[in-house]
Assembly symmetry: C2
Homo-oligomer: 205 residues x 2
């Protein structure tokens, strides 16, 4: 019934593991449980399937981003919420972000696919940079800027604080994407990272 949607799902799974060029339409069809020619009742070409995935991604990002408070749009007003943030809050926030990125099926596959295809298409490169670099950094920079102003954290360059906070998260994410068995170890290191971050930038001494 919702074959059309299932094709996208299975195709995304395969693209994220092998890359567009190494996936055969017959594989997609098999994963869906139909024969290759039947795909063409739903999409007019392999490229068309890819484009549909991309469209869906772009649509879903805005919701997901605002849900996670990553997009940086309204960071300042949201930061009010965090004015009483403590070390444990920060740990929760960071591991939450990390584990969401890592485990959410859609987010993970999307990220892997973009990672594989990034050098072949500058649109994909920009998308990856936006979603995994610029948006998180700008959101967090605004948040830290607010926290510094409020006197919760020491006054340092908030862009660099955001980098110190986020780059390790991103780094560990790339490790776990290729070595899933290292998730536990990485989560531990992540927590140590946040605790130390908090001690360093926190007002307590």
């Amino acid at each position: 019934m919702n074959t059309k949607k299932r094709i996208l799902d299975e195709a995304l799974t395969l693209f994220s593991e092998k890359g567009y060029g190494n996936v055969y339409v017959a594989q997609i069809a098999e994963a869906v449980g139909i024969k290759a020619p039947s795909l063409y009742k739903h999409y007019k070409s392999k490229q068309d399937i890819f484009n549909a995935i991309l469209d869906e991604m772009k649509k879903s990002y805005d919701k997901q981003a605002s849900m996670l408070n990553i997009s940086g749009e309204d960071a300042v007003s949201d930061a009010e919420v965090y004015s009483d943030i403590g070390e444990d809050e920060l740990v929760r926030m960071a591991t939450g972000l990390f584990l969401y990125f890592l485990h959410d099926d859609y987010a993970q596959k999307f990220r892997k696919m973009l990672t594989i295809e990034q050098f072949r298409d500058s649109e994909l490169a920009h998308l990856l940079t936006k979603e995994y670099a610029d948006d998180p950094l700008s959101y967090q920079s605004a948040m830290f800027s607010m926290l510094c102003k409020k006197g919760v954290l020491r006054k340092y360059d908030p862009d660099v604080m955001a980098l110190h906070f986020y780059a390790p998260i991103y780094f560990l994410l790339t490790v776990c994407d290729r070595e899933p068995q290292r998730e536990t170890e990485s989560t531990e290191l992540l927590k140590r990272h946040i605790r130390q971050f908090s001690r360093i930038y926190g007002k307590g001494e």
Copy 2:
């Protein structure tokens, strides 16, 4: 004359831009300046070319790593050299590492190729993790451990210090790999990162 070598170079260039599956042997041949069938005088298949590249990479890494002091092998003895390290030294070290990774032709292509192929072959995944995560972290952890012991830096978990130092370098590297025009901006942010790192972990204050 050294056609055999040139084939590897051109193939690496193409693989690092498009990925193995999207490169045709005819393209490699053209880049070298010969016809596709002539490639088979030097390598018995496309896969064989890929394997040869990989072998060369594995061989060259050890030299390059020890040259750059990344490998972590003899970090402790080397760390003696850094016992008088200052903020400027650290900035020089970090930007040097960053710009080397970013500009060295071989390193850049190798990294991009591994990035593209990482999810298709766990050997490649491990290689990428080793060279861009484990080795740099373990080297730097040993270095910071030494610097803390010497009293040059405040006493913090050296693994986390290494993560704080290195993850932003890696992060900015991935950004510049896909958006080369952001190199200047990224280098600036990198320097701010190191200065702040140095102020935070340094003894002065």
